[in-house]
């Protein structure tokens, strides 16, 4: 494995490793939220899908993806345009070759990317709840881990052209994404949008006449406890990312952690207030979405701005999230059970823009906007194309019978709660 000159001390690497061992709690939290926001008759399939996606992405990224993501300062494929090098694809060894002989820093960067790709692939799974087949979900996760995530991770984290915007075109420090707002959350949110476009809404969600039908999540306790579990993982992701990707000194790490907590807290308070004003009582699932949106926004900016600025960013995320969820459902007929588009895509964009505005470096906002333009103009069409082809080979949507009896019985042969009465479709009318 080609490795860059290490810049992190052994102490920094040790702290980073400890944090990365805690980071999977963010994945666990989102898995609980995805499961709780789905219906009871699909709960086992939902949670098994989360596990399977983590497994599939880990294997595929080890075999293929890590080669194309490369490493900072490692080999890569470049072309010349306007007299500048455009490093667009990593060229690492296949099958993690030479990993054990590499210095600690690139090994930690690779571990971060393994967790990031699992997290990104998990996000669309929640949006396809109650209708997305398990095999198709795993195949989509494999495509993300083999093709899309490695490209994006190379561009953003491993010395690719977006990271080099500062050096080559005097755009601040180049595109900066310390906590994975772009590589994890916006990628996941845009993937969720394509899954919803391709698979369509759940049966009965949008009847021929009248407004959309509310299909509430089956377990608010899973959802809200998942939010608390996710906080631990998010703190780990954001602080480890600050160490690894922007080489933040130890003295700034408590501020990054505090910014993460305040962003989530501000978002929850704002969503609580907005839903109380709109519906008369606070809405538990929307409050959970608001909390998550605050965490997602912090991924883009907590390491670069002050905690008070992070609080302001969280409040904006918390106000926007319930309004966006409502807009997507009522105005454009998007059936997104986990709210991934509003939470992960919109929250991530907000965090990246906030980093550009508050970072205080000339040209930084421009670099962030070019990064967002890349996500919308390249990544979204690419994911749609790949998922559209995949849907031709292994259909995303379960057949009508499967949707009627529930994904648990149809795909697994047994339910998550065998002693409970499971509601029929008619119960929701």
């Amino acid at each position: 494995m080609t490795s860059p000159t290490p810049v992190l001390s052994d102490a920094a690497c040790g702290v980073c490793l400890g944090l990365l061992i805690l980071a999977p709690l963010a994945i666990a939290g989102v898995a609980l939220i995805n499961t709780g926001l789905g219906r009871s008759r699909s709960a086992a399939q939902a949670l098994l899908g989360n596990l399977a996606i983590v497994a599939v992405t880990s294997i595929v990224f080890a075999l293929v993806g890590a080669t194309f993501s490369g490493a900072i300062g490692g080999a890569g494929h470049s072309f010349q345009l306007a007299g500048k090098p455009w490093n667009w694809l990593g060229a690492g060894p296949f099958f993690l070759g030479g990993l054990s002989a590499a210095p600690l820093q690139p090994q930690l960067a690779l571990l971060f990317e393994f967790l990031a790709v699992a997290f990104a692939a998990l996000i669309p799974w929640g949006s396809g709840a109650d209708r997305w087949r398990l095999t198709a979900g795993c195949a989509a996760a494999a495509v993300l881990a083999a093709v899309v995530f490695p490209l994006l991770a190379h561009w953003v984290w491993d010395g690719g052209w977006l990271a080099q915007l500062g050096v080559n075109f005097s755009a601040g420090s180049g595109f900066v994404d310390p906590g994975g707002a772009a590589t994890i959350h916006i990628l996941g949110g845009l993937s969720a949008l394509t899954v919803i476009w391709i698979a369509g809404p759940r049966k009965g969600k949008f009847p021929k006449e009248g407004l959309s039908t509310a299909l509430p999540g089956h377990n608010a306790v899973y959802v809200l406890f998942g939010c608390l579990v996710a906080l631990v993982g998010w703190l780990a992701f954001n602080v480890a990312g600050a160490i690894l990707w922007i080489h933040a000194p130890f003295s700034t790490l408590p501020s990054t952690a505090l910014g993460t907590l305040l962003s989530a807290s501000g978002a929850l308070a704002a969503t609580f207030t907005v839903t109380r004003i709109r519906f008369g009582k606070p809405d538990a699932s929307l409050c959970a979405n608001g909390w998550l949106a605050g965490l997602v926004a912090s991924s883009g900016c907590a390491a670069l701005i002050t905690p008070v600025q992070a609080l302001a960013v969280g409040i904006v995320a918390g106000v926007a999230t319930p309004l966006l969820v409502e807009l997507f459902e009522l105005a454009v007929s998007i059936d997104d059970p986990s709210g991934a588009i509003s939470v992960h895509a919109a929250g991530g964009i907000l965090g990246l823009v906030a980093a550009g505005i508050f970072a205080g470096q000339p040209g930084q906002l421009l670099a962030q906007l070019v990064g967002i333009a890349t996500l919308l103009g390249v990544v979204l069409p690419l994911v749609y194309l790949l998922f559209w082809l995949l849907n031709r080979m292994t259909p995303f949507r379960v057949d009508q019978d499967g949707e009627r009896i529930g994904m648990d019985l149809h795909e697994l042969g047994g339910g998550a709660y065998p002693e409970f009465v499971i509601h029929r479709d008619d119960s929701y009318r």
């Binding site: 005097s170 755009a171 476009w197 049966k203 069409p381």
Partner: protein, 67 residues
């Protein structure tokens, strides 16, 4: 229509790239304006894609399906 929207979106990306290639660093306003125009084109593409999604939903209902 959804495909038309998705095809428009890369045009916005190329507009953003053109901004950093064509305008040197000191002309920050022109650069920023071009990048914002690129994002505007992408937003238009996204709106068209959403319109396509809604038309597809209407077609599903016209076929008598209730989803």
């Amino acid at each position: 229509m959804r495909y038309a929207g998705l095809i428009v979106m890369p045009a916005g990306f190329f507009l953003s790239i053109a901004a950093i290639l064509l305008f040197p660093a000191p002309s920050a306003a022109a650069r920023a304006a071009f990048v914002v125009c690129g994002l505007g084109v992408e937003a238009l593409g996204l709106v068209v894609a959403f319109r396509g999604h809604m038309e597809a939903r209407s077609a599903v209902h016209a076929n008598g399906e209730d989803r």
